[in-house]
């Protein structure tokens, strides 16, 4: 098991180097000059050139890449061009916000998907199935930013139950922080549950058709037992893969949710970085996302045997 984990982590190294290489050069292919953006419209061209040189952007790209890679290997992701803060510090503070929202949301969405997807499969073709599938399709069709604004309007503006803007870090005041996070978490939970419900239902339908489920029923087991002991573990494995992919995707990509709810998370950091051509921040964010993908996929692979005995870690 340990050797498998080490082997997987070692295999991730070339992946991350390729990601780093692609990220570095792709970011620089986008037109736009951070020095120009920082000094604003109307700035003197000589001032822009001076800042360009100060930021080291006048050096050949391969020299910039070598310098950056050397620093990354030593654990230094550089400093933000716009704020001057270390990128690693920015990533850690922003990851706290995004991490809390994503983990809770995906966790809740998974629970909803397991329950709704299994029940829909169990009552396939019935009213319950129709209701669950219609709900899931509706969720898939609704953009997350629109849903977020709707929840903001209802629970923030109309009912005055929840705050609409602002954020308090978890480390400062967990209860107040939670109040600010309820709406983003609800939005993301609903948005992500649609696809997970469909996947869970589809897998559960396949499993319900199998002989051992018929056999379990023939033995006289209660439906609840059949579903929980025989259907769920076997139907959940594909959904778990999707949960892993969803986690990886969301860690780097809830910029829309973060913008609507003014959360200082990773997604907003990356979008701001792209818009201001803050190369170190964009590189740091993308590299971080790649690492998260690798780790999440590894964790999912390690969890797989728990649900599907046919699969072994080796």
């Amino acid at each position: 098991m340990i050797s498998y984990v080490i082997r997987r982590l070692l295999l991730a190294v070339p992946t991350l180097i390729i990601v780093a290489l692609m990220v570095f050069f792709l970011v620089r292919l986008i037109p736009g000059d951070p020095a120009q953006i920082m000094l604003g419209e109307g700035a003197d061209p000589s001032a822009v050139a001076a800042l360009h040189a100060e930021l080291g952007l006048d050096k050949p790209v391969y020299v910039q890449f070598a310098t950056w890679l050397r620093h990354v290997v030593s654990g230094d992701l550089g400093t933000s061009i716009t704020t001057g803060e270390p990128v690693s510090t920015l990533l850690i503070t922003r990851a706290e916000t995004t991490g809390v929202v994503v983990l809770i949301s995906v966790g809740l969405a998974t629970l909803i998907a397991i329950a709704a997807g299994t029940v829909a499969a169990w009552r396939r073709g019935g009213k319950l199935d129709l209701a669950v599938m219609s709900g899931a399709s509706l969720i898939l069709a609704v953009p997350s930013f629109w849903l977020g604004l709707l929840l903001l309007l209802v629970f923030g503006v109309w009912l005055h139950w929840l705050p609409v803007v602002g954020y308090i870090p978890f480390s400062e005041d967990p209860w107040s922080a939670m109040l600010f996070l309820i709406l983003p978490i609800a939005t993301l939970t609903i948005s992500e549950s649609g696809v997970l419900i469909r996947m869970m239902r589809s897998s559960a339908i396949d499993v319900l058709r199998l002989d051992y489920v018929t056999h379990a029923r023939a033995k006289g087991l209660a439906e609840r037992t059949v579903l929980s002991r025989h259907v769920f573990p076997n139907a959940f494995a594909p959904t778990l893969t999707l949960v892993g992919l969803t986690l990886g995707r969301l860690f780097g990509g809830i910029a829309v949710i973060e913008t609507v709810f003014t959360l200082p998370g990773l997604g907003r950091l990356m979008v701001t970085g792209v818009l201001s051509r803050d190369y170190p921040v964009v590189q740091g964010c993308l590299l971080f996302t790649a690492v998260i993908y690798v780790v999440v996929n590894l964790v999912v692979d390690l969890l797989y045997p728990l649900f599907d005995p046919r699969v072994t870690v080796e």
Partner: protein, 525 residues
Amino acid sequence: MRKTIAGLILIAAGVGLGLALVHPKAPPTGSMLRARLNADIASSDPGMKRDANTDAVLLHVVEGLVALREDGSVGPMLASGWTVSPDGRTYRFALRRGIRFHNGAPLSSADVKWSLDRYLAPDSHWRCKSDLSAKGIAAVTVINTPDPDTVDIVLDRPAPLFLATLARLDCGGTGITHRASVGPDGTWLYPIGTGPFRWGEWRHNQYVDLVKYDGYRPLPGGTDGNAGGKHALVERVRFSVIPDGSAASAALLRGSLDVLDALAPNELGTIAGAPGIMQDSAMSADFYGILLQTGAPVLRDVRLRRALSLSLDVAALTRVVTHGTGVPDSSPIPAANAFYGAAERVLVKRDLATARALVKASGYRGEPIELMTSHSPPEMYDAAILVQAMARDAGINIQIVSLDWATQFARYSSGDYQATMFGFSARMDASQMFGVLIGDRATDPRKVWNSPQAIDLLHQSVVTGDRAQRQQIFDQLDAHFRSEVPAIVLYNTRRVTALRTPVTGYRSWSAQTQRLWNVGLGNSR
């Protein structure tokens, strides 16, 4: 089933009641005025790494020797007055007595010299360094401090716009800061100024807090641009970073914001008529329009540029794009500017017959003309769509290229476009407004108008102090602009600010910055 529904309703009501009773951690003690920024500030160093948000926030903390008044003229701030030598090269400023920095240190001429030397240092990124250099309006040659209350600034040549340059918002008002604002190694820490608010806390991408400065010595009078009497009427000001316009509107309606400045035209409908919300607005000294590369193959012919201008119904376009808040304009001098006279007031009317005739005369055969635009602000994209449709009526084939702002800005800066939608933020002097267009394209590709006559007239406008003479120069420039059409001005915007009813004393102004001094909360939180 009924029991289940009743149970769910009960749970929802309980949760709602609980949430309604529990409020997030209270803000720091005392009254707090909450305003919105659509993006984080670029730095806390006035006039260095900056944008309009940065200028607006920092001008609550720092003050310069002089400041812009409401009407665009220059008034005293840290200087009680000034004299100019007969040769127009030496400005002597007398400092106001009793002014103290936020750290308690008294203001002296040495502090002024330290700040100005820092702005003009070779490695400084101060926005206005080039304006106060040999290639700008005049170079600062010497700064003398004959006594602690007097500063002499000597220029290499007379410069009637010197004071106006010092007062410019994008120069950070040439704010005077205490030397403790920088660390021992010379790195910038935070601004220790003399303004009505002192620097509180900056949480990147979340908020900037400013705290009332109890030791502030206000000038007499009320709000007058960035000059005049300033009084901090609240204990704390919080500028919250809320990028999304809809979220900002929701925050205002919910009561999480007191001041929502620069309300987007498409958000007006949400706010208008909402209970507990009022509006304040002022015409902005900006302009939005189309910049044309007069050297580009198709647009080289002035007849085609005129045809494009005549094909546009500027009044209708402005009405649609700004939701009725903007003012159509054909002059680079905005309607809110003091030099917006009879000549500038004349609007270019749509004349399709003449436009078609000019198109024909120019030999244009429908070659596509690329019009670059972005969604920053969103109205720019809408305007591009309307320009495309209107130009088509005159037989001009516009193709829209929509880019993100940074890419559009990069292409604008390098002159890599045929035509581009573009907006220039408020500049209070008419020379500055023409200055964004006029210049030598060979050395500065951003400039679209490099006619020697225009360059000469712009130079005259900068070295002439007499108001009547300047008006004449601007009238000539305006006429010349309409004849050569290096750009097409479309409209000036109206800056609309939405306020919650407890807010008192807020005044919008043409310089497009929010001023939260002299602004109070009726029932102090």
